[in-house]
Symmetry: C2
Subunit: 336 residues, 2 copies
DNA sequence: TCGGCGTTTTGTAGCGCTACAATATTCTGT
DNA sequence: ACAGAATATTGTAGCGCTACAAAACGCCGA
């Protein structure tokens, strides 16, 4: 439809004519302002604004082989866990003159399709979550050489990575519960084909428990898609294993909140009857009563660093294999 | 960086050579498969896959003036209200061979920047939320003629719109409370520069109350950024107006949940002491106890219809001014 | 006044792809 | 076996922009 009336399409050419300069000067005005004399630049900018000129990114990208758009694949916006991550990315790219576009993908094959779109768009870089990807797209990404950063990944980056150790965090939060006197601690994990940032927690939990001389068999897996609903299921499942359960470690604050709501229904006091630990420090963690003790990953910083890694590489500096650990901290509230 | 080793870049040309056909046949294989003989197509597809060829969308877009990428601007992913909307969009475009990319924008100027990026990318269409946009970008959008659909908008579309009447919904939920015997009903609104899909509720609330012969002065405004925290503030504010408040209408389920948590802290029974109505039917509405009575907008359908409007226009049919009402329904739960 | 230098501006060519028209190939029916 | 239609494939040209090299301009001191 843009083509229907090509006489109306505002192109760099038409701006150039209107401003009485060559197209190259218009191009330079936008891409390398310092190469153009102040006076000329102002004139071009003014004319461009009057005409409503928007550079055709597709053409620029084609001609230069460069792009100032970065693509990020986000697993889900169902809960707020990626909110700060996205905000960090967005804020950072804005300061560098880049643009961020997002695609949502709940499954590996959706992720693959999203990556293909981004590659087709010839973006300057791609941010992914987690370290599990279809092998086809790995080959593809290798071949194109586009900078890729994996977030929430702590080791063995595909290209570059930024994250924290979920294993360390699991250990720290488990030890906190033990230290506070809880002994019959249950662990809730996700079942099915989930990211290693979840699966690697189970062995660490077991290890931490055993190191303290405690039983580590109270483990129950729930479906990641269940959201709050996973809470009641998990509680029921763990009580079937041990009715005298005294604490529970949840994979996210959403599940933890679900458990808390279920405790309410059962008339169980938290943390007296059952202590609850969450993960992610979602907004709800601080709003419900009692507040949730939870793991706070530095998601905002993660988003920022993810973008800076990509931008460095796009700008020529930076190297493959880069790894940034953004750490985490435990937020202690009343639930545990 | 893609250019560093141009001998390694897989282009349509290189696929054509490897498959022993002309570039046009490769192009047709991807864009108009029916124009290419089955046998030839299979061969080209096979070679393309082996070489890891991904069509350069930037080049295709430039040459054809068409794009199969649609951009959507989402106000926030902080809560789940847009989850189903995005899912509806994503599912629909997938069936039509389009791709959806997202940009987040919390403010009008961020929205404007997002729109500029999309226009620069020459997307096939743009989906926005709400009907308030910077006048500059309105001019720009008018000029480029790109199909634009506004969601959550019920009248006077800029180009096309899909939504439901928040005014009708306000009336229905207020009448429900009245019908159930509540008389001292308070209304929570958002203050500041918020979308008309929020502001238009206040007059309807007043009108509904007055029509029933009830007082309509119990109105309190909270900051949209406050999330759950807005609940306690709103409750406090409304109690200052009328300590005997018996029901409360919230702008979102998040605020309603915040109110509910605050009631828990105060030891108030819901709905005996205070009835609570939410908005949006977020996941949390069905998970907390008591469940929230709330307005369920058909967000998923809204997303689907938004995309179908754009795709129809991109495909040549469809007209400006189209409006789709996706309706809403009230989910009755225990809170009111 | 003029060569020489740095700054600013401008042709030229081509990025990878697709619309379109033209050509080549295959398939009808007689 | 062959005209004519239908189908399949292929040149040509150009989309809007930018890298690069070449040209034009302005300014200085001699």
């Amino acid at each position: 439809m843009t083509k229907l009336r090509s006489d109306e399409t505002v192109t760099m050419q038409s701006v150039a004519v209107a401003a009485g300069v060559s197209p190259m000067t218009v191009s330079n005005t936008f891409r390398y302002p310092e190469r153009v004399q102040e006076e000329t630049r102002q004139r071009v900018l003014k004319i461009a604004a009057e005409l409503g000129y928007i550079p055709n990114h597709a053409a620029g990208n084609l001609a230069s082989g460069q792009s100032r758009v970065i693509g990020a694949v986000i697993p889900s916006i169902k809960n707020s866990s990626f909110y700060n991550y996205v905000r960090g990315m967005q804020d950072h790219v804005a300061t560098e003159g880049y643009q961020l576009i997002l695609k949502l993908a709940d499954t590996l094959s959706q992720e693959a399709s999203a990556i293909r779109t981004f590659v087709g768009l010839r973006v300057a870089g791609i941010a992914l979550v987690g370290d599990e990807h279809e092998s086809d797209v790995k080959t593809l990404l290798r071949k194109t050489g586009v900078p890729v950063v994996e977030s929430w990944v702590h080791e063995n980056p595909f290209d570059m990575a930024v994250g924290y150790s979920t294993s360390d965090a699991t250990r720290v939060i488990t030890e906190l519960l033990i230290e506070r006197g809880y002994r019959r601690i249950g662990f809730v994990g996700y079942q099915g084909d989930v990211s290693s940032r979840f699966t690697e927690r189970v062995p660490t939990f077991k290890q931490s428990m055993e190191k303290a001389g405690l039983d580590s068999y109270r483990i129950f897996l729930v479906d990641q898609a269940d959201g709050f609903g996973a809470g009641p299921k998990a509680l029921e499942g763990l009580c079937a294993i041990d009715p005298d359960l005294d604490a529970i470690v949840c994979p996210t604050d959403i599940v933890a909140a679900g458990v808390l709501f279920e405790c309410g229904r059962r008339g169980w006091k938290v943390p007296e009857r059952l202590a609850i630990a969450g993960w992610g420090d979602y907004e709800i963690a601080s709003e419900i009563t009692p507040g949730l003790t939870t793991v706070q990953p530095h998601s905002y910083e993660m988003g920022q660093r993810a973008m800076s890694l990509i931008i460095e590489r796009a700008a020529g500096s930076g190297a493959t294999g880069m790894m940034v650990d953004t750490g985490f901290h435990i937020v202690k509230r009343a639930s545990a």
